[in-house]
Amino acid sequence: MTPIGLDDIEALAVGAWILGTGGGGSPHHALLCLRRIFTKSATIELIDPSVLDDDDLVAVVSYMGAPLVIQERLVDSAQVARAVTLMQEHLGRHFRAVMALEIGGGNGMLPMLAAAQLGIPVVDADAMGRAYPEAQMTSFAVGDLRPAPLTTVDPRGIEVIVSNVPTWKWMERASRKVCVEYGSIAATCKAPRTGAEVKRWGIPGTTSKAIRLGRAVVEANRHHRDPIEAILTSEHGKWLFAGKIVEVERRTTAGFLRGKAVVEVAADEHIVLDFQNEWTVIWRDGKPIASTPDLICVLNSDSGEAIGTEVIRYGQRVTAIALPSPDVFLTQQGLENVGPRAFGYDFDFRSVFVS
């Protein structure tokens, strides 16, 4: 059991944004909430999944919806906590702990908010190891775990429970409808997981990984060392290329932000980065050189901070690196859910970490 301090939270915000692989929404508001919580007395504890009993129950929290709407509605820890207590009421059971659905972006910070409100620990694990756009793109879906129930909460006192669905795809469809009615944002508690399920299918150590990553960047900047080198060393990442953004194309299709960014890496040498909310594929001379589920992180070349697909723009100096995918997504089922074909590409995954 590790106590979490404000230093860890500040580092988590930087690290979660990097693991967002271009999406996941900014951790800024969650960070502000946590700074305020820490000015009062707050105790947040991080526990390893291995300490869970098999029949413990773990809450999985996330905000679902449009990052743009969060910019106006702001993050609210009481709402996140309410999604969890609503689930407890629905189940008639109490949660032993809370965990993140996705460690990438603002959602990676949410378990900390719920934990501070509810006085239960945070499990050092998530179900993506990064950010992904859809409900079935999780390790729990790869494990074919039950997708329901799910609770959704709106600050006006609207609460909707999706009590049962046959598949993860149906969960995505049903909950997305509710979310749009709320105003395209909902605090949610996903299908509860048993301790056994978290130990078997959760991606362990991702919260401490995000904290470690963020700390590497913060420390490197503080001591005027290269933050990108620090990330690569800390997480066994692979440097892919550095260059300047010379073209950005965005469009919304079926509710997602899709597009590409072109990076000039040398005179007349261009690399194309595709995205669907998050970075999906890197192309060089028409051939894919990196793709999901490897984590593609596009960073500010100077500061090492992540650059989101919503804000990337002409002229930025960027460095792209890859971090290893969680093992669960390298299986046949894993690749079916989050490999290049799951994003509509007609090629098979080849990891940059396999020579």
């Binding site: 508001h29 502000l32 909430c33 305020r36 919806g65 449009a66 990052p67 743009l68 709407v69 910019q71 106006e72 509605r73 702001l74 993050v75 609210d76 820890s77 009481a78 600050p155 006006r156 006192g157 749009v180 105003g183 395209s184 300047k244 010379v246 965005r250 469009r251 919304t252 509710g255 997602f256 932000l257 000039e264 909310n277 919503e310 804000v311 723009r313 002409y314 002229g315 100096r317």
Partner: protein, 527 residues
């Protein structure tokens, strides 16, 4: 048509007189403690240079006074903040992300009431007018004179902010009111911060701008006063006094606009080399490219139109390290004339290197004759690679760019640079900021989410709205032109949601007559 442009900086007050497209005179005077003195001194100097005449049509002033007030935490008033967004947002109340010292100075209390809208224009909650009225009574009892009002998604629907402003006006008739929708786009905290910053400066801005008016009048100039904005456009003195945050960085912006005017170029990278820093900016269609990211002002996170400038510690007064050839970032600043070697001082500055290399002529060259060629060449090489690097960072297109070099230290910019097709220098370049003020136009802007429209329809609708806003602000409808259009699809939202940003500009309505009679010459600013 004659106009006077004035730049009130921290050190110098510059003034220029232009007629049509000719710069008749440009002068510098020291800025005074009370702004009036510096402006009077500059205008007197201008009169000594040239016959100003009695046909000046407008005086346009750019100033960094308001941003300096925030940075230095002085002349700021307490603000009452009303937010219309409950029951959402209550965990992050107004001022929650401000630096403690600044927050303490201006915190007059905050009230979060029910109301506001959603991204699609639907109502979030019914507006709680009674709660606003109650907040007003508290505001009155607390003796507050400035109120900032921020409603959820107000850039898309300003109705609740307007109703709240009406109530404040009834209950606190003497209070100044700043509504957030007039200042910023999507991002409640950042827009609210801009509104509160604005509200705390209104009193100081009114006093300062009135002082500007008195100074101009007592210099015997009878012409309307305009204040220039962050984006290089101008508004009437009254409007500017109500929105000081829009004048925060008019100095560097005016410099870029002045450079564009003097050179006749619309698209270029501009480098303004001063005494302490060099500012790099990207001139697009005669205007500085604006940042679409969050900007911090005096430690406060805000989001409104600001030019995208990069400032580095390279200037005429930069201190040189003789061992490493490193330049700056420390500078001797206005003490150059006592500290630099060429002036008999004992600090090696960038200007000494320039004199030794015969790039500049000041002080006594004999005093730098001993500098080894290795050092002089080393520093110049360092300056060259630094400038090349930042030009490349600033540019947004592939291919070589035109570089416009202005400012007192522009002799540092070499004639040939990697990535630069040509370096352009202009006469009066050291007063480019005052010239930029003199030529300012009126703008109208829109930043809004459109749904259920095709992309061309959304852009056309945004443009029409922007044109209406420009005309309301005092632009001549016949001279309006589009200078910026950007659209960003929004993830997750249904109905082809598109965020469209559009900006149009035009000439000041009662001034543009006669402009185009000028011998068929159509300079960049009117193109």
């Amino acid at each position: 048509m004659k106009r006077i442009g004035i730049d009130v900086g921290g050190t110098n007050t510059d003034a220029v007189l232009i007629s049509g497209y000719d710069v008749l005179a440009s002068v510098k005077a020291p800025t005074s403690e009370n702004v009036t003195g510096g402006i009077l001194a500059a205008l007197s100097a201008l009169r000594r240079e040239v016959d100003v005449g009695d046909d000046v049509e407008a005086v346009l002033i750019g100033t960094t006074h308001f941003i300096n007030a925030v940075v230095q935490r002085r002349s700021l008033a307490k603000v009452g903040a009303i937010r219309i967004a409950a029951p959402a947002t209550t965990e992050l109340p107004p001022l929650c992300d401000w630096p403690t010292d600044l927050g303490r100075i201006i915190d007059g209390g905050s009230w979060i009431v029910e109301g506001g809208f959603d991204y699609d224009g639907r109502r979030f909650m019914p507006l709680d007018r009674a709660a606003i009225r109650k907040a007003c009574r508290d505001i009155r009892n607390n003796g507050l004179a400035h109120v900032a009002i921020t409603g959820m998604f107000s850039p898309l629907n300003a109705e609740d902010e307007q109703i709240a402003a009406g109530i404040v006006l009834e209950e606190c008739p003497h209070a100044s009111i700043t509504c957030s929708h007039e200042l910023g786009g999507i991002g409640l905290l950042e827009r609210e911060n801009a509104a509160i910053l604005n509200a705390c400066l209104v009193h100081f801005a009114q006093e300062t701008i009135e002082a500007f008016g008195r100074a101009v009048a007592s210099a015997g100039i009878d012409a309307p006063l305009f204040i220039t904005q962050n984006d290089g456009t101008a508004v009437t003195a009254d409007q500017a006094a109500a929105r000081p945050v829009y004048s925060f960085v008019s100095g560097p912006t005016n410099s870029m606009r002045g450079a564009a005017f003097l050179s006749g170029l619309d698209d270029a990278i501009v480098i303004d080399v001063g005494g302490t820093t060099s500012d790099f900016g990207n001139l697009i269609s005669g205007f500085p490219r604006t940042a679409n990211d969050v900007v911090h002002v005096g430690g406060v996170r805000t989001l409104f139109r600001m030019p995208d400038l990069v400032s580095i510690g390279l200037g005429g007064g930069s201190v040189i390290n003789p061992d490493t050839c490193a330049i700056g970032p420390t500078s001797v600043g206005f003490r150059l004339v006592e500290k630099a070697l060429v002036f008999g001082g004992n600090t090696l500055t960038a200007s000494d290197i320039a004199v030794a290399a015969r790039l500049a002529n000041m002080g006594e060259r004999a005093k730098v004759a001993h500098l080894p060629a290795r050092l002089v060449d080393g520093v110049l090489a360092r300056a060259r690679t630094t400038i090349e690097d930042y030009v490349d960072r600033t540019t947004t297109q592939a291919g070589d760019v035109t570089l416009l070099a202005v400012g007192g230290g522009s002799f540092f910019v070499p004639e040939k640079l990697a990535g630069v097709s040509r370096v352009v220098r202009v006469e009066h370049g050291d007063c480019a900021n005052a010239i930029g003020a003199a030529i300012a136009q009126i703008a109208g802007e829109v930043d809004q989410v459109f749904q259920g429209l095709t992309r061309p329809e959304a852009i056309a609708q945004a443009r029409e709205l922007a044109e209406q806003r420009a005309i309301t602000a005092g632009a001549d409808a016949k001279t309006l032109s589009l200078v910026e259009a950007e659209d960003i699809p929004i993830a997750y939202l249904p109905g082809n949601a598109l965020r469209v940003k559009v900006k149009v500009v035009g000439e000041i309505a009662n001034l543009q007559r006669g402009v185009r009679t000028d011998a068929g010459q159509v300079p960049s600013v009117y193109a």
